[in-house]
């Protein structure tokens, strides 16, 4: 693709999760500042989704003509490609889930477009800011191609609280998509019981535990409940079987960038920092005053988390009532 139309277009690729997640709204807000916003979804949108999108000034929604496709990744790529060829966007925005990164990768090949991942900011000239090397460095980079494909990290874009309800619903365009590229098939799905907490990647607050919890995440769960946060864990805690692997923070490929990261019983050695370094505020609780985590914490409490956390929960209750 070498030319883009007169009215710049920003294409947002959504994965169909409803209602829209915070990270999805961030993509829509970001897109709105970069061009006329178009959205592509994997199935024909219902009224509720159209109203949500109208509130973000989405001009058109592209959906596939045919029915659901049980193949992995390729249908989403083919759909995004078809939408991109139809509207020739200057930028295609996706989230940072593993699935979204796979779509972004393959779309980049099909469109011959530069792909930049884990973007935390994108300016009007499509220069992207990334946090790299476990949060130790920031880079500014750009694509040399006329279209940029970018995956955006959650908690990067401010979503205004009040949005215009929007006069018009976006136009819905059916895209014929036929793609016979080899793909894996989904042959079964097992539901995991919902935890009632936000997912780690999306969470604005993460309360994470390590070896120092001794296996008892109870005080952390109380604090997470009080703060509406997600539970995270160090590799050691997951390996010990105290928490499920989906809670592991600092695993490459699962990035978290919360507003608040409360680190409990985690020493904060270099490889553990990948999870916490890009949090806006870090609070650490650890019995060992030499723990390296105190070097990067905004507030460090040297003490027993089994005393400190319940006391904090109780004080929060008092302050709120």
């Amino acid at each position: 693709m070498t030319t883009t139309p007169e009215t710049p277009v920003a294409l947002v690729v959504l994965d169909g999760t409803q209602p829209l997640r915070g990270s999805d709204r961030e993509l829509l807000v970001l897109a709105g500042g970069l061009g006329e916003t178009h959205v592509v979804v994997p199935a024909a949108p219902g009224g509720a989704l159209l109203r949500e999108l109208a509130a973000h000034a989405v001009a058109a929604v592209h959906a596939p003509e045919g029915g659901a496709d049980e193949r992995l990744t390729v249908p989403a790529v083919a759909l995004a490609e078809a939408a991109a060829r139809a509207v020739r966007p200057r930028v295609v925005l996706l989230g940072s889930t593993p699935e979204a990164k796979e779509v972004a990768a393959r779309l980049g090949v099909r469109l011959e477009a530069g792909v930049i991942t884990d973007v935390v900011a994108l300016d009007a000239d499509l220069v992207a800011t990334k946090s790299v090397l476990a949060g130790g460095w920031r880079t500014r980079c750009r694509a040399r191609t006329s279209t940029l494909v970018a995956t955006v990290r959650p908690n990067s874009v401010d979503v205004p609280a009040r949005r215009d309800p929007g006069a018009e619903l976006p136009e819905v365009r059916a895209l014929p998509v036929e793609d016979t590229a080899p793909a894996a098939r989904v042959v079964g799905r097992a539901q995991r019981p919902p935890s009632g907490r936000p997912s780690l990647e999306e969470a604005r607050v993460v309360v994470a535990g390590g070896r120092g919890t001794g296996g008892d995440f109870g005080p952390l769960e109380e604090l997470a409940d009080a703060l509406g946060g997600a539970i995270g864990a160090s590799r050691a805690a997951v390996d010990a079987g105290w928490v499920g692997p989906e809670a592991q923070v600092g695993q490459t490929g699962r990035t978290v960038s919360p507003q608040l990261y409360v680190s409990c019983g985690i020493s904060g050695a270099v490889q553990q920092r990948a999870g916490m370094q890009t949090a806006k505020v870090i609070v650490a609780v650890n019995k060992d005053e030499q723990a390296p985590v105190f070097e990067i914490a905004d507030l460090g409490i040297v003490g027993d988390l089994r005393k400190v956390l319940p006391q904090a929960v109780e004080r929060l209750r008092q302050l709120r009532s």
Binding site: R106, G136, A183
Partner: protein, 274 residues
């Protein structure tokens, strides 16, 4: 009974993530000093070895090739894979490759996989990768490789197995609130996570045996590519600037003497985080 398989492992040699890493130069690049096989690639090597061992082992005629694109030191990544048990190595080595982004890397590796198939006399059945490199961390190369090579792709596989006849891989993958069960007919590309298995430490015998395993070295021209198609010149993205940080200003450290939790709560309220 599984027919002999050809498995290719694209690997990366990277600066050790446990040491300090620095971006320098214009355009900024990661300073390369002593490096290691990217930790996440070890899981891919282990996955390949386990598949082969479950289906007749070395005697069944399977080929497990370690492939890397990188400067001379990248041979260290191949060496580690050979010590773990890979049978042979391919090193794409060329000064023109310096500064290659994910687009170029995938293009070069795809050309290498095609050459492995063409010169090896049998098609490549499975490409196994880690889920991301520990330096670039883009996770782009596996998907771009699958797209270029026309391979059925399973990314972030939590578990992996070959079916009875060796014609397909079955895998599971965590997808938010679900666990997906997947099947991909060979040839396929699978990326594995750091929870998929536990990589083996090479035995002394394996380390000795690795010294005799063949490693081929190929240039960009050997792959039928132009110098202009690779390196900084051929990349579709560029880094304009790199800065450390932002540095976190030192915070307060308070010793709990009976009021630690209260301090914590009041801090959160003062910061408007609750």
């Amino acid at each position: 009974m599984t027919r002999p398989l050809t498995i290719v492992l694209p690997l990366k040699h990277v600066p050790d993530a446990k040491q300090e890493r620095v971006l320098a130069g214009q355009p900024p690049v990661l300073a390369r000093g002593p490096g290691i096989l990217s930790e996440l690639d070890e899981y891919a090597v282990e996955a390949a070895l386990q598949l082969v061992e479950a289906h007749g082992g070395a005697d069944a005629g399977h080929r497990v090739l370690a492939l890397t694109m990188g400067p001379a030191e990248a041979a260290g990544a191949l060496k580690r894979a050979l010590q773990m048990g890979a049978g042979e190595g391919v090193h794409v080595l060329d000064d023109a490759l310096a500064g290659s982004d994910a687009w170029v890397t995938a293009r070069v590796l795809a050309a290498a996989v095609e050459r492995i198939a063409a010169t090896g006399g049998s098609p490549v059945d499975l490409v196994l990768t880690g889920m991301a490199s520990t330096d670039g961390e883009t996770s782009l190369v596996p998907g771009q490789l699958a797209e270029r090579l026309g391979l059925a792709q399973i990314g972030f596989a939590a578990s992996l197995a070959l079916d009875e006849e060796g014609r397909a891989v079955t895998a599971t993958r965590d997808a938010g609130s679900e666990v997906l069960q997947l099947v991909a007919e060979l040839p396929a590309l699978v990326s594995v996570t750091d929870r998929t298995n536990t990589p083996r430490y090479p035995s002394f015998k394996a380390i000795m045996a690795a010294k005799k395993k063949p490693v081929q070295t190929w240039s960009v021209a050997d792959l039928g590519l132009d110098a202009a198609a690779v390196g900084f010149t051929g990349s579709l993205t560029e880094v304009l600037e790199a800065v450390p940080g932002p540095p976190r200003p030192a915070g307060q450290v308070v010793v709990d003497e009976g009021e630690g939790g209260i301090r914590l709560a009041e801090f959160l309220v003062a910061q408007k985080l609750v």
